[in-house]
Amino acid sequence: MRVTVAVAGEDTREVEVEEGATYADLLDPLPYSTHEVSVLVDGRPVPEDAPVETEEVEVLRLVKGG
């Protein structure tokens, strides 16, 4: 299945994953680990090990600097 992955502040890309893939799998083509981002569906984070059930996610990076 094809999922639109929009990284806030960066590019939006289409990611092709197998049926049953997890949200963590959507991050594979990206230079971020699951520790560094939240994957959001409809404005809420989804568990990284949950199967993908949407065609569109937003990815927000954790930023700490001040």
Partner: protein, 271 residues
């Protein structure tokens, strides 16, 4: 007709606010009555302190436990070269007092910890999180959300900034990020660098949100995370919704910050 609380000098100083229908003497009086705690007198805290002081916020608390280093001066604009080696709260307080004698500055030269957070935050109407580490960010979120104190969140990295406002009416920071990443997983400004002017943009938005809160005008960023890319000069908005599973503001919240270990993942202890 000006409000009774503004003296002639204040009518002059704040005249550009007072003539605005959306601020007026009432809005200015609200700012003069306001008390705001700014946590962090660094890159973000500097513009926040500058604009809150200039706007006439009557009581400004500054919490920081660092001293000024020369490498701070590329972006931390309330400190000067002669301040190197001084506590940041001292030079920040000096800057605010020089800018506006209406502002009473309360200096807190201490780290925000589970032991100090109540004493620091209680009594303030609004908190600005201008800190630079996850334990402080999660602790401020948790304490302010549980205590019902609205706060502004800002964070910076290289060319990117994130900013939002948590008023208690919408989500909290943990709705978005349930736990902190492992130490070292997210790089900091000291190792990756940061564009010096970046915190100016993000901190100024934080100050804008703070002023709007007291004047009660416009739309707050509650429920919207703004992501700014200084390199592309683009602003994006990410919708953030309250999470019913959130352990701070969801259906089954914790009682106090004593239920959280504010190190590493800042995870809420299991029941």
């Amino acid at each position: 007709m000006a409000g009774p609380d503004l003296d002639p000098e204040q009518l002059d100083r704040y005249s550009r606010h007072i003539i605005m229908d959306d601020v007026g003497p009432e809005g200015q009086a609200a700012l003069l009555d306001a008390s705001v705690l700014v946590v962090g007198a660094g890159g973000l805290g500097s513009p926040v302190l500058q604009y809150l002081a200039a706007a006439g916020v009557g009581t400004i608390g500054v919490a920081d436990h660092d001293v000024v280093e020369r490498s701070n001066l590329q972006r931390q604009v309330v400190h000067g070269d002669s301040d190197v080696g001084r506590p940041k709260v001292e030079s920040a307080a000096e800057f605010v007092r020089e800018l506006n004698p209406d502002a009473t500055v309360e200096v807190h030269e201490t780290a925000v910890s589970p032991e100090t957070v109540a004493d620091l935050v209680d009594g303030y109407d609004f908190v600005v999180d201008a800190s630079d580490n996850f334990p402080t960010r999660f602790l401020l979120n948790d304490y302010c959300t549980l205590a019902g104190v609205p706060f502004s969140h800002g964070a910076i990295y290289r060319f990117e900034g994130q900013v939002t406002t948590f008023t208690g009416e919408g989500p909290c920071y943990r709705c978005l990020f349930p736990e902190a990443p492992p130490e070292g997983a997210v790089p900091d400004c000291a190792t990756t660098g940061v564009l010096g002017v970046l915190p100016g943009t993000i901190g100024t938005i934080q100050a804008t949100e703070t002023v709007k809160y007291f004047v009660d005008v416009g739309e707050s960023l509650d429920g919207r995370m703004v992501v700014y890319d200084a390199a592309e000069m683009s602003f994006e908005e990410v919708t953030v919704r309250p999470n019913p599973d959130c352990r701070i503001c969801g259906d089954d919240p914790i009682d106090s910050v004593a239920d959280v270990e504010y190190s590493e993942s800042c995870a809420v202890r299991a029941d």
